[in-house]
Symmetry: C2
Subunit: 303 residues, 2 copies
Amino acid sequence: MKEKELIQIIKSTLNSEYIGDDCAYLPDLGITVTQDSLVEDIHFSMKYTNAYKLGWKSAMVNISDVCASGANPVYLTIALSLPKNIKADFVEEFYKGAKDACEDVKIVGGDITGSEKIFISVTAIGSTKGRKISSRSHAKAGYKIIVSGRHGSSGAGLISLINGLKYPDFIEAHLIPKAQRKFSEQIAVNALYDYAMMDTSDGLADALYQIADASNVIMKIDFEKIPYDKNIEKFSDWKDLILFGGEDYQLVAAVPEELLKNISDYTIIGEVIERNNKSDGKIIIDGKHYSDIDNKLYNHFEE
Amino acid sequence: MKEKELIQIIKSTLNSEYIGDDCAYLPDLGITVTQDSLVEDIHFSMKYTNAYKLGWKSAMVNISDVCASGANPVYLTIALSLPKNIKADFVEEFYKGAKDACEDVKIVGGDITGSEKIFISVTAIGSTKGRKISSRSHAKAGYKIIVSGRHGSSGAGLISLINGLKYPDFIEAHLIPKAQRKFSEQIAVNALYDYAMMDTSDGLADALYQIADASNVIMKIDFEKIPYDKNIEKFSDWKDLILFGGEDYQLVAAVPEELLKNISDYTIIGEVIERNNKSDGKIIIDGKHYSDIDNKLYNHFEE
Protein backbone atom coordinates (compact mmCIF):
# COMPACT_ATOMS: atom_id res chain seq x y z
CA MET A 1 0.00 0.00 0.00
CA LYS A 2 1.02 3.60 -0.48
CA GLU A 3 2.01 5.65 2.53
CA LYS A 4 -0.66 8.24 1.76
CA GLU A 5 -3.38 5.61 1.62
CA LEU A 6 -2.27 4.29 4.99
CA ILE A 7 -2.32 7.81 6.43
CA GLN A 8 -5.86 8.18 5.09
CA ILE A 9 -6.85 5.00 6.96
CA ILE A 10 -5.29 6.34 10.15
CA LYS A 11 -7.10 9.66 9.75
CA SER A 12 -10.49 8.06 9.27
CA THR A 13 -9.94 5.56 12.11
CA LEU A 14 -8.91 8.26 14.56
CA ASN A 15 -11.25 10.93 13.22
CA SER A 16 -8.70 13.40 14.57
CA GLU A 17 -8.32 17.07 13.69
CA TYR A 18 -4.62 16.87 14.55
CA ILE A 19 -3.33 14.51 11.88
CA GLY A 20 -2.28 16.52 8.84
CA ASP A 21 0.64 18.78 9.59
CA ASP A 22 4.05 17.31 10.38
CA CYS A 23 3.75 18.75 13.87
CA ALA A 24 0.65 18.55 16.05
CA TYR A 25 -0.17 21.93 17.57
CA LEU A 26 -1.43 21.59 21.15
CA PRO A 27 -2.47 25.10 22.20
CA ASP A 28 -3.60 24.04 25.71
CA LEU A 29 -0.01 22.99 26.48
CA GLY A 30 1.67 25.72 24.41
CA ILE A 31 3.64 23.19 22.40
CA THR A 32 3.97 21.55 19.01
CA VAL A 33 5.12 17.94 18.85
CA THR A 34 6.44 15.73 16.07
CA GLN A 35 7.77 12.19 15.84
CA ASP A 36 9.74 10.67 12.97
CA SER A 37 11.51 7.37 12.55
CA LEU A 38 14.62 6.33 10.66
CA VAL A 39 14.98 2.65 9.75
CA GLU A 40 18.25 1.03 8.67
CA ASP A 41 18.35 0.06 4.97
CA ILE A 42 15.11 2.00 4.37
CA HIS A 43 16.13 5.56 5.33
CA PHE A 44 19.86 5.11 5.71
CA SER A 45 22.63 2.61 5.18
CA MET A 46 25.63 2.21 7.46
CA LYS A 47 27.66 1.83 4.24
CA TYR A 48 27.39 5.59 3.74
CA THR A 49 27.14 7.09 7.21
CA ASN A 50 28.48 6.56 10.72
CA ALA A 51 27.09 6.64 14.25
CA TYR A 52 27.89 10.32 14.85
CA LYS A 53 26.29 11.50 11.60
CA LEU A 54 23.29 9.23 12.14
CA GLY A 55 22.72 10.71 15.60
CA TRP A 56 23.06 14.20 14.15
CA LYS A 57 20.59 13.60 11.35
CA SER A 58 18.06 11.78 13.56
CA ALA A 59 17.90 14.77 15.89
CA MET A 60 18.03 17.38 13.13
CA VAL A 61 15.19 16.07 10.98
CA ASN A 62 12.85 16.33 13.95
CA ILE A 63 14.13 19.76 14.94
CA SER A 64 13.41 20.73 11.33
CA ASP A 65 9.77 19.62 11.68
CA VAL A 66 9.39 21.80 14.76
CA CYS A 67 10.93 24.71 12.84
CA ALA A 68 8.37 24.14 10.08
CA SER A 69 5.61 24.59 12.66
CA GLY A 70 7.08 27.94 13.67
CA ALA A 71 7.63 26.81 17.27
CA ASN A 72 10.93 27.07 19.11
CA PRO A 73 12.50 23.60 19.41
CA VAL A 74 13.24 22.94 23.10
CA TYR A 75 13.19 19.23 23.93
CA LEU A 76 13.89 15.88 22.29
CA THR A 77 13.39 12.25 23.26
CA ILE A 78 15.16 9.47 21.37
CA ALA A 79 14.17 5.80 21.14
CA LEU A 80 16.98 3.68 19.78
CA SER A 81 16.80 0.00 18.91
CA LEU A 82 20.07 -1.73 18.16
CA PRO A 83 21.32 -5.18 17.23
CA LYS A 84 22.81 -7.16 20.12
CA ASN A 85 26.33 -7.00 18.77
CA ILE A 86 26.44 -3.23 18.74
CA LYS A 87 29.46 -1.63 20.38
CA ALA A 88 29.36 0.86 23.24
CA ASP A 89 31.20 3.44 21.13
CA PHE A 90 28.39 3.35 18.57
CA VAL A 91 25.96 4.48 21.26
CA GLU A 92 28.39 7.12 22.51
CA GLU A 93 29.07 8.50 19.01
CA PHE A 94 25.37 8.46 18.13
CA TYR A 95 24.48 10.55 21.16
CA LYS A 96 27.42 12.90 20.59
CA GLY A 97 26.09 13.56 17.11
CA ALA A 98 22.55 14.05 18.38
CA LYS A 99 23.75 16.40 21.11
CA ASP A 100 25.82 18.49 18.69
CA ALA A 101 22.85 18.78 16.32
CA CYS A 102 20.68 19.89 19.24
CA GLU A 103 22.74 22.94 20.27
CA ASP A 104 20.47 24.38 23.03
CA VAL A 105 17.68 21.83 22.49
CA LYS A 106 17.75 19.37 25.40
CA ILE A 107 17.62 15.59 25.03
CA VAL A 108 15.44 14.59 27.97
CA GLY A 109 14.68 10.93 27.55
CA GLY A 110 13.94 7.95 25.46
CA ASP A 111 14.44 4.30 25.36
CA ILE A 112 17.00 1.74 24.27
CA THR A 113 16.00 -1.77 23.18
CA GLY A 114 17.20 -4.65 21.06
CA SER A 115 16.27 -5.24 17.41
CA GLU A 116 17.66 -6.87 14.28
CA LYS A 117 18.22 -3.64 12.35
CA ILE A 118 18.97 -0.18 13.69
CA PHE A 119 15.75 1.67 14.36
CA ILE A 120 15.56 5.26 15.56
CA SER A 121 12.47 7.19 16.52
CA VAL A 122 12.78 10.75 17.74
CA THR A 123 10.16 13.03 19.24
CA ALA A 124 10.74 16.78 19.25
CA ILE A 125 8.79 19.34 21.24
CA GLY A 126 8.62 23.04 20.40
CA SER A 127 7.46 25.90 22.58
CA THR A 128 4.88 28.16 20.95
CA LYS A 129 5.55 31.04 23.35
CA GLY A 130 5.78 34.30 21.37
CA ARG A 131 5.34 32.41 18.08
CA LYS A 132 2.56 32.27 15.52
CA ILE A 133 2.17 28.63 14.46
CA SER A 134 2.02 27.64 10.79
CA SER A 135 -0.35 25.28 9.04
CA ARG A 136 -0.08 23.86 5.56
CA SER A 137 -3.69 24.94 5.07
CA HIS A 138 -2.94 28.61 5.68
CA ALA A 139 -1.67 29.74 2.26
CA LYS A 140 -3.78 32.47 0.65
CA ALA A 141 -3.91 33.96 -2.84
CA GLY A 142 -1.53 36.91 -3.07
CA TYR A 143 0.96 35.48 -0.55
CA LYS A 144 4.61 35.30 -1.59
CA ILE A 145 6.35 31.92 -1.66
CA ILE A 146 9.77 32.05 -0.04
CA VAL A 147 12.47 29.50 0.69
CA SER A 148 15.56 29.22 2.85
CA GLY A 149 18.88 27.95 1.51
CA ARG A 150 19.71 25.83 -1.54
CA HIS A 151 17.71 22.96 -2.95
CA GLY A 152 18.69 19.58 -4.40
CA SER A 153 22.04 19.30 -2.64
CA SER A 154 21.00 16.41 -0.40
CA GLY A 155 19.72 14.34 -3.33
CA ALA A 156 22.94 15.05 -5.23
CA GLY A 157 24.81 13.96 -2.10
CA LEU A 158 23.02 10.63 -1.98
CA ILE A 159 23.82 10.00 -5.67
CA SER A 160 27.43 10.96 -4.96
CA LEU A 161 27.64 8.48 -2.08
CA ILE A 162 26.13 5.63 -4.07
CA ASN A 163 28.31 6.28 -7.14
CA GLY A 164 31.51 7.29 -5.36
CA LEU A 165 31.46 10.84 -6.75
CA LYS A 166 33.56 13.49 -5.02
CA TYR A 167 31.10 16.24 -4.07
CA PRO A 168 31.85 16.82 -0.38
CA ASP A 169 29.38 19.72 -0.05
CA PHE A 170 26.52 17.62 -1.40
CA ILE A 171 27.50 14.63 0.74
CA GLU A 172 27.59 16.85 3.82
CA ALA A 173 24.17 18.28 2.91
CA HIS A 174 22.85 14.71 2.81
CA LEU A 175 24.49 13.28 5.91
CA ILE A 176 24.54 16.23 8.30
CA PRO A 177 21.70 18.57 7.29
CA LYS A 178 21.00 21.76 9.23
CA ALA A 179 17.52 22.80 10.32
CA GLN A 180 16.58 26.37 9.42
CA ARG A 181 15.91 27.67 12.91
CA LYS A 182 16.67 31.34 12.13
CA PHE A 183 14.39 31.44 9.08
CA SER A 184 11.57 29.84 11.11
CA GLU A 185 12.05 32.14 14.07
CA GLN A 186 11.97 35.33 12.01
CA ILE A 187 8.68 34.35 10.39
CA ALA A 188 6.95 32.94 13.49
CA VAL A 189 7.93 35.82 15.77
CA ASN A 190 6.96 38.55 13.28
CA ALA A 191 3.87 37.03 11.68
CA LEU A 192 0.64 38.91 12.35
CA TYR A 193 -1.49 36.79 10.03
CA ASP A 194 -1.86 33.11 9.21
CA TYR A 195 0.88 31.62 7.05
CA ALA A 196 1.89 28.20 5.69
CA MET A 197 5.29 26.63 6.20
CA MET A 198 6.81 23.18 5.62
CA ASP A 199 10.25 21.73 5.47
CA THR A 200 11.47 20.09 2.29
CA SER A 201 12.13 16.67 3.82
CA ASP A 202 10.15 15.01 1.02
CA GLY A 203 11.30 17.49 -1.64
CA LEU A 204 10.51 21.08 -2.52
CA ALA A 205 7.79 20.15 -5.01
CA ASP A 206 6.10 17.88 -2.46
CA ALA A 207 6.02 20.65 0.16
CA LEU A 208 4.57 23.07 -2.39
CA TYR A 209 2.03 20.46 -3.43
CA GLN A 210 0.97 19.68 0.16
CA ILE A 211 0.45 23.36 0.94
CA ALA A 212 -1.51 23.93 -2.31
CA ASP A 213 -3.65 20.87 -1.65
CA ALA A 214 -4.43 21.70 1.99
CA SER A 215 -5.02 25.41 1.25
CA ASN A 216 -6.93 24.86 -2.01
CA VAL A 217 -4.73 27.31 -3.92
CA ILE A 218 -2.16 27.16 -6.69
CA MET A 219 1.53 27.57 -5.87
CA LYS A 220 2.99 29.31 -8.95
CA ILE A 221 6.75 28.91 -9.11
CA ASP A 222 9.48 30.46 -11.23
CA PHE A 223 12.11 27.69 -11.42
CA GLU A 224 14.89 30.17 -12.21
CA LYS A 225 14.41 31.78 -8.80
CA ILE A 226 15.03 28.58 -6.81
CA PRO A 227 18.49 28.81 -5.22
CA TYR A 228 20.80 25.89 -5.88
CA ASP A 229 24.48 25.00 -5.97
CA LYS A 230 25.73 25.35 -9.59
CA ASN A 231 27.62 22.06 -9.32
CA ILE A 232 24.29 20.24 -9.40
CA GLU A 233 24.06 21.00 -13.13
CA LYS A 234 26.70 18.30 -13.61
CA PHE A 235 24.10 15.68 -12.63
CA SER A 236 21.66 14.25 -15.14
CA ASP A 237 18.06 15.18 -14.26
CA TRP A 238 19.43 17.94 -12.05
CA LYS A 239 16.18 19.90 -12.24
CA ASP A 240 14.35 16.88 -10.83
CA LEU A 241 16.88 16.73 -8.00
CA ILE A 242 16.08 20.33 -7.11
CA LEU A 243 12.32 19.83 -7.24
CA PHE A 244 11.90 16.26 -6.02
CA GLY A 245 15.20 15.26 -4.39
CA GLY A 246 14.15 15.59 -0.75
CA GLU A 247 16.02 15.63 2.55
CA ASP A 248 17.36 19.15 2.14
CA TYR A 249 15.48 20.22 5.30
CA GLN A 250 15.13 23.72 3.95
CA LEU A 251 11.93 25.61 4.68
CA VAL A 252 9.33 26.82 2.22
CA ALA A 253 6.68 29.30 3.35
CA ALA A 254 3.72 31.16 1.90
CA VAL A 255 3.51 34.48 3.71
CA PRO A 256 1.83 37.89 3.34
CA GLU A 257 4.12 40.25 1.43
CA GLU A 258 4.28 42.78 4.27
CA LEU A 259 6.00 40.20 6.49
CA LEU A 260 9.04 40.22 4.21
CA LYS A 261 10.25 43.60 5.49
CA ASN A 262 10.84 42.03 8.91
CA ILE A 263 12.89 39.04 7.78
CA SER A 264 16.19 38.40 6.00
CA ASP A 265 17.99 35.59 4.17
CA TYR A 266 15.10 34.36 2.08
CA THR A 267 14.42 33.96 -1.64
CA ILE A 268 11.06 34.63 -3.29
CA ILE A 269 10.41 31.78 -5.74
CA GLY A 270 6.78 32.47 -6.65
CA GLU A 271 3.37 33.42 -5.44
CA VAL A 272 0.10 31.91 -4.36
CA ILE A 273 -2.80 32.30 -6.79
CA GLU A 274 -6.44 31.33 -6.64
CA ARG A 275 -7.50 27.90 -7.83
CA ASN A 276 -10.90 28.30 -9.46
CA ASN A 277 -11.01 25.32 -11.81
CA LYS A 278 -10.60 21.72 -10.76
CA SER A 279 -8.68 21.15 -13.97
CA ASP A 280 -5.95 23.54 -12.83
CA GLY A 281 -2.79 22.01 -11.45
CA LYS A 282 -2.00 22.49 -7.78
CA ILE A 283 1.51 23.67 -8.50
CA ILE A 284 2.63 25.48 -11.63
CA ILE A 285 6.35 25.51 -12.31
CA ASP A 286 7.44 27.62 -15.30
CA GLY A 287 3.91 27.29 -16.70
CA LYS A 288 3.73 23.51 -16.37
CA HIS A 289 0.80 22.31 -14.29
CA TYR A 290 1.32 19.48 -11.80
CA SER A 291 -1.95 17.97 -10.58
CA ASP A 292 -0.46 14.96 -8.94
CA ILE A 293 3.21 14.56 -8.22
CA ASP A 294 2.89 11.26 -6.36
CA ASN A 295 4.73 9.29 -9.00
CA LYS A 296 7.77 11.53 -8.59
CA LEU A 297 7.89 11.06 -4.84
CA TYR A 298 9.75 8.52 -2.85
CA ASN A 299 7.26 6.18 -1.22
CA HIS A 300 8.29 3.49 1.25
CA PHE A 301 5.28 1.35 0.52
CA GLU A 302 5.24 1.59 -3.26
CA GLU A 303 5.65 -1.79 -4.89
CA MET B 1 26.16 -5.06 26.19
CA LYS B 2 23.61 -4.76 28.94
CA GLU B 3 20.84 -2.20 28.61
CA LYS B 4 21.84 -0.52 31.86
CA GLU B 5 25.44 -0.12 30.72
CA LEU B 6 24.21 1.50 27.51
CA ILE B 7 21.97 3.86 29.49
CA GLN B 8 25.01 4.77 31.59
CA ILE B 9 26.91 5.66 28.40
CA ILE B 10 23.98 7.81 27.24
CA LYS B 11 23.80 9.56 30.61
CA SER B 12 27.48 10.40 30.65
CA THR B 13 27.49 11.50 26.98
CA LEU B 14 24.50 13.79 27.45
CA ASN B 15 25.37 14.87 30.99
CA SER B 16 21.65 15.45 31.37
CA GLU B 17 19.70 15.80 34.61
CA TYR B 18 16.60 14.47 32.86
CA ILE B 19 17.63 10.91 32.08
CA GLY B 20 16.68 8.67 35.01
CA ASP B 21 12.93 8.50 35.47
CA ASP B 22 10.76 6.85 32.83
CA CYS B 23 9.17 10.21 32.13
CA ALA B 24 11.06 13.45 31.75
CA TYR B 25 9.50 16.23 33.82
CA LEU B 26 9.59 19.57 31.98
CA PRO B 27 8.26 22.13 34.48
CA ASP B 28 8.64 25.10 32.10
CA LEU B 29 6.10 23.48 29.76
CA GLY B 30 3.97 21.91 32.50
CA ILE B 31 4.34 18.43 31.02
CA THR B 32 5.97 15.06 31.48
CA VAL B 33 6.99 13.11 28.38
CA THR B 34 7.95 9.50 27.77
CA GLN B 35 8.82 7.42 24.72
CA ASP B 36 8.90 3.63 24.49
CA SER B 37 9.37 1.24 21.59
CA LEU B 38 8.00 -2.22 20.86
CA VAL B 39 9.93 -4.36 18.37
CA GLU B 40 8.50 -7.47 16.71
CA ASP B 41 10.04 -10.73 17.93
CA ILE B 42 11.78 -8.86 20.75
CA HIS B 43 8.83 -7.43 22.69
CA PHE B 44 5.99 -9.24 21.00
CA SER B 45 5.24 -11.96 18.49
CA MET B 46 2.36 -11.88 16.02
CA LYS B 47 1.93 -15.58 16.85
CA TYR B 48 0.33 -14.54 20.16
CA THR B 49 -1.32 -11.19 19.52
CA ASN B 50 -3.18 -9.33 16.79
CA ALA B 51 -3.18 -5.83 15.35
CA TYR B 52 -5.93 -4.52 17.66
CA LYS B 53 -4.28 -5.82 20.85
CA LEU B 54 -0.88 -4.62 19.68
CA GLY B 55 -2.25 -1.11 19.14
CA TRP B 56 -3.90 -1.22 22.55
CA LYS B 57 -0.76 -2.33 24.36
CA SER B 58 1.53 0.10 22.49
CA ALA B 59 -0.62 3.02 23.62
CA MET B 60 -1.25 1.69 27.12
CA VAL B 61 2.37 1.04 28.13
CA ASN B 62 3.19 4.68 27.44
CA ILE B 63 0.06 5.95 29.20
CA SER B 64 1.22 3.83 32.15
CA ASP B 65 4.60 5.62 32.18
CA VAL B 66 2.82 8.99 32.33
CA CYS B 67 0.66 7.67 35.18
CA ALA B 68 3.84 6.65 37.01
CA SER B 69 5.02 10.27 36.81
CA GLY B 70 1.77 11.43 38.42
CA ALA B 71 0.84 13.58 35.42
CA ASN B 72 -2.49 13.38 33.62
CA PRO B 73 -2.02 11.60 30.24
CA VAL B 74 -3.37 13.87 27.50
CA TYR B 75 -1.64 13.28 24.16
CA LEU B 76 0.04 10.50 22.23
CA THR B 77 2.04 10.28 19.01
CA ILE B 78 2.66 6.94 17.32
CA ALA B 79 5.42 6.03 14.90
CA LEU B 80 4.73 2.79 13.12
CA SER B 81 7.05 0.93 10.77
CA LEU B 82 5.59 -1.93 8.83
CA PRO B 83 6.67 -4.49 6.26
CA LYS B 84 5.66 -3.69 2.67
CA ASN B 85 3.16 -6.52 2.44
CA ILE B 86 1.12 -5.33 5.40
CA LYS B 87 -2.62 -5.11 4.85
CA ALA B 88 -4.72 -1.98 5.25
CA ASP B 89 -6.88 -3.69 7.87
CA PHE B 90 -3.81 -4.26 10.04
CA VAL B 91 -3.30 -0.50 10.19
CA GLU B 92 -6.99 0.11 10.84
CA GLU B 93 -7.19 -2.51 13.62
CA PHE B 94 -3.95 -1.29 15.19
CA TYR B 95 -5.26 2.26 15.44
CA LYS B 96 -8.66 1.10 16.70
CA GLY B 97 -6.88 -0.71 19.52
CA ALA B 98 -4.70 2.29 20.28
CA LYS B 99 -7.72 4.60 20.28
CA ASP B 100 -9.73 2.35 22.60
CA ALA B 101 -6.79 2.14 25.02
CA CYS B 102 -6.53 5.93 24.95
CA GLU B 103 -10.08 6.72 26.13
CA ASP B 104 -9.86 10.53 26.46
CA VAL B 105 -6.14 10.72 25.61
CA LYS B 106 -5.81 12.10 22.08
CA ILE B 107 -3.60 10.59 19.37
CA VAL B 108 -2.25 13.69 17.66
CA GLY B 109 0.37 12.51 15.23
CA GLY B 110 3.18 10.26 14.29
CA ASP B 111 4.73 8.69 11.33
CA ILE B 112 4.36 5.61 9.14
CA THR B 113 7.31 4.09 7.30
CA GLY B 114 8.51 0.84 5.82
CA SER B 115 10.66 -1.73 7.64
CA GLU B 116 11.36 -5.47 7.65
CA LYS B 117 9.82 -6.16 11.05
CA ILE B 118 7.01 -4.33 12.79
CA PHE B 119 8.40 -1.50 14.86
CA ILE B 120 6.32 0.76 17.07
CA SER B 121 7.48 3.78 19.00
CA VAL B 122 4.98 5.79 21.03
CA THR B 123 5.43 9.10 22.80
CA ALA B 124 3.01 10.08 25.55
CA ILE B 125 2.61 13.52 27.07
CA GLY B 126 1.07 14.23 30.45
CA SER B 127 -0.17 17.51 31.86
CA THR B 128 1.20 18.35 35.31
CA LYS B 129 -1.57 20.86 36.07
CA GLY B 130 -2.85 20.28 39.61
CA ARG B 131 -0.51 17.30 40.08
CA LYS B 132 2.57 16.71 42.21
CA ILE B 133 5.10 14.85 40.04
CA SER B 134 6.86 11.73 41.31
CA SER B 135 10.50 10.78 41.15
CA ARG B 136 12.08 7.44 41.84
CA SER B 137 14.56 9.30 44.06
CA HIS B 138 11.85 10.65 46.38
CA ALA B 139 11.28 7.70 48.72
CA LYS B 140 12.02 8.47 52.38
CA ALA B 141 12.39 6.31 55.49
CA GLY B 142 9.02 5.90 57.18
CA TYR B 143 7.03 6.06 53.93
CA LYS B 144 4.52 3.30 53.27
CA ILE B 145 4.95 1.20 50.11
CA ILE B 146 1.66 0.72 48.30
CA VAL B 147 0.63 -0.98 45.06
CA SER B 148 -2.34 -1.03 42.73
CA GLY B 149 -3.93 -4.24 41.47
CA ARG B 150 -2.55 -7.76 41.21
CA HIS B 151 0.98 -8.81 40.35
CA GLY B 152 2.39 -11.60 38.21
CA SER B 153 -0.66 -12.07 36.00
CA SER B 154 1.02 -10.76 32.83
CA GLY B 155 4.00 -13.09 33.19
CA ALA B 156 1.64 -15.99 33.80
CA GLY B 157 -0.24 -14.90 30.67
CA LEU B 158 2.91 -15.02 28.55
CA ILE B 159 3.72 -18.51 29.82
CA SER B 160 0.12 -19.54 29.08
CA LEU B 161 0.39 -18.23 25.52
CA ILE B 162 3.68 -19.97 24.83
CA ASN B 163 2.53 -23.28 26.34
CA GLY B 164 -1.08 -23.25 25.18
CA LEU B 165 -2.49 -23.09 28.75
CA LYS B 166 -6.05 -21.91 29.23
CA TYR B 167 -5.83 -18.96 31.61
CA PRO B 168 -7.85 -16.27 29.81
CA ASP B 169 -7.50 -13.74 32.66
CA PHE B 170 -3.73 -14.02 32.64
CA ILE B 171 -3.58 -13.87 28.83
CA GLU B 172 -5.74 -10.77 28.84
CA ALA B 173 -3.50 -9.19 31.51
CA HIS B 174 -0.54 -9.80 29.19
CA LEU B 175 -2.04 -8.73 25.87
CA ILE B 176 -4.34 -5.87 26.88
CA PRO B 177 -3.00 -4.38 30.11
CA LYS B 178 -4.71 -1.41 31.77
CA ALA B 179 -2.81 1.61 33.05
CA GLN B 180 -3.66 2.62 36.62
CA ARG B 181 -4.89 6.13 35.95
CA LYS B 182 -7.16 6.39 38.99
CA PHE B 183 -4.46 5.22 41.43
CA SER B 184 -2.02 7.73 39.94
CA GLU B 185 -4.50 10.58 39.99
CA GLN B 186 -5.47 10.09 43.63
CA ILE B 187 -1.84 10.22 44.75
CA ALA B 188 -0.67 13.05 42.49
CA VAL B 189 -3.66 15.30 43.19
CA ASN B 190 -3.56 14.81 46.97
CA ALA B 191 0.20 14.64 47.58
CA LEU B 192 1.57 17.50 49.69
CA TYR B 193 5.07 16.07 49.96
CA ASP B 194 7.55 14.37 47.63
CA TYR B 195 6.81 10.74 46.80
CA ALA B 196 8.21 8.00 44.57
CA MET B 197 6.17 6.08 42.02
CA MET B 198 6.95 3.68 39.17
CA ASP B 199 5.00 1.27 37.07
CA THR B 200 5.86 -2.44 37.16
CA SER B 201 6.66 -2.74 33.46
CA ASP B 202 9.96 -4.47 34.30
CA GLY B 203 8.54 -6.29 37.31
CA LEU B 204 7.56 -5.33 40.85
CA ALA B 205 10.97 -6.18 42.30
CA ASP B 206 12.72 -4.09 39.65
CA ALA B 207 10.54 -1.05 40.41
CA LEU B 208 11.21 -1.45 44.13
CA TYR B 209 14.91 -1.84 43.44
CA GLN B 210 15.07 1.25 41.20
CA ILE B 211 13.31 3.38 43.82
CA ALA B 212 15.56 2.06 46.61
CA ASP B 213 18.67 2.64 44.53
CA ALA B 214 17.75 6.19 43.44
CA SER B 215 16.50 7.18 46.92
CA ASN B 216 19.30 5.42 48.85
CA VAL B 217 16.85 3.64 51.13
CA ILE B 218 15.73 0.07 51.74
CA MET B 219 12.33 -1.07 50.49
CA LYS B 220 11.19 -3.65 53.07
CA ILE B 221 8.46 -5.87 51.70
CA ASP B 222 6.12 -8.42 53.25
CA PHE B 223 5.53 -10.88 50.39
CA GLU B 224 2.27 -12.10 51.93
CA LYS B 225 0.76 -8.64 51.44
CA ILE B 226 1.34 -8.50 47.66
CA PRO B 227 -2.02 -8.99 45.94
CA TYR B 228 -2.13 -11.71 43.29
CA ASP B 229 -4.57 -14.01 41.51
CA LYS B 230 -4.67 -17.35 43.38
CA ASN B 231 -4.53 -19.25 40.08
CA ILE B 232 -0.90 -18.21 39.72
CA GLU B 233 0.03 -20.73 42.42
CA LYS B 234 -0.51 -23.42 39.77
CA PHE B 235 2.62 -22.19 37.99
CA SER B 236 6.07 -23.38 38.98
CA ASP B 237 8.19 -20.48 40.32
CA TRP B 238 4.98 -18.51 40.86
CA LYS B 239 6.62 -16.29 43.49
CA ASP B 240 9.23 -15.28 40.91
CA LEU B 241 6.43 -14.43 38.48
CA ILE B 242 4.91 -12.09 41.07
CA LEU B 243 8.20 -10.40 41.89
CA PHE B 244 10.03 -10.45 38.57
CA GLY B 245 7.42 -11.21 35.89
CA GLY B 246 7.00 -7.72 34.50
CA GLU B 247 4.47 -6.12 32.16
CA ASP B 248 1.68 -5.95 34.71
CA TYR B 249 1.67 -2.14 34.39
CA GLN B 250 0.53 -1.81 37.96
CA LEU B 251 1.86 1.08 40.02
CA VAL B 252 4.06 0.94 43.10
CA ALA B 253 4.54 4.04 45.23
CA ALA B 254 6.35 5.09 48.38
CA VAL B 255 4.23 7.75 50.07
CA PRO B 256 3.88 9.48 53.45
CA GLU B 257 1.41 7.59 55.64
CA GLU B 258 -0.91 10.61 56.02
CA LEU B 259 -1.58 10.57 52.27
CA LEU B 260 -3.34 7.20 52.60
CA LYS B 261 -6.46 8.71 54.18
CA ASN B 262 -7.13 10.54 50.88
CA ILE B 263 -6.87 7.56 48.55
CA SER B 264 -8.62 4.24 48.01
CA ASP B 265 -7.99 0.92 46.25
CA TYR B 266 -4.42 0.38 47.32
CA THR B 267 -2.56 -2.31 49.25
CA ILE B 268 0.27 -1.62 51.70
CA ILE B 269 3.03 -4.16 51.00
CA GLY B 270 5.82 -2.75 53.13
CA GLU B 271 7.66 0.30 54.27
CA VAL B 272 10.73 2.33 53.48
CA ILE B 273 13.56 2.10 56.02
CA GLU B 274 16.93 3.78 56.29
CA ARG B 275 19.92 2.23 54.58
CA ASN B 276 22.90 2.88 56.81
CA ASN B 277 25.26 0.09 55.79
CA LYS B 278 26.50 -0.53 52.29
CA SER B 279 26.25 -4.25 53.01
CA ASP B 280 22.49 -3.97 53.42
CA GLY B 281 20.36 -5.07 50.51
CA LYS B 282 18.35 -2.45 48.64
CA ILE B 283 15.19 -4.44 48.88
CA ILE B 284 14.30 -6.85 51.65
CA ILE B 285 11.52 -9.33 50.93
CA ASP B 286 10.46 -11.49 53.88
CA GLY B 287 13.86 -10.88 55.45
CA LYS B 288 15.88 -11.81 52.34
CA HIS B 289 18.21 -9.05 51.18
CA TYR B 290 18.51 -8.35 47.46
CA SER B 291 21.54 -6.20 46.62
CA ASP B 292 21.47 -6.73 42.91
CA ILE B 293 18.52 -8.19 41.07
CA ASP B 294 19.96 -7.71 37.59
CA ASN B 295 20.30 -11.40 36.92
CA LYS B 296 16.60 -11.88 37.51
CA LEU B 297 15.64 -9.18 35.03
CA TYR B 298 14.87 -9.46 31.41
CA ASN B 299 17.56 -7.69 29.44
CA HIS B 300 17.34 -7.22 25.68
CA PHE B 301 21.08 -6.96 25.29
CA GLU B 302 22.14 -9.81 27.53
CA GLU B 303 24.08 -12.45 25.66
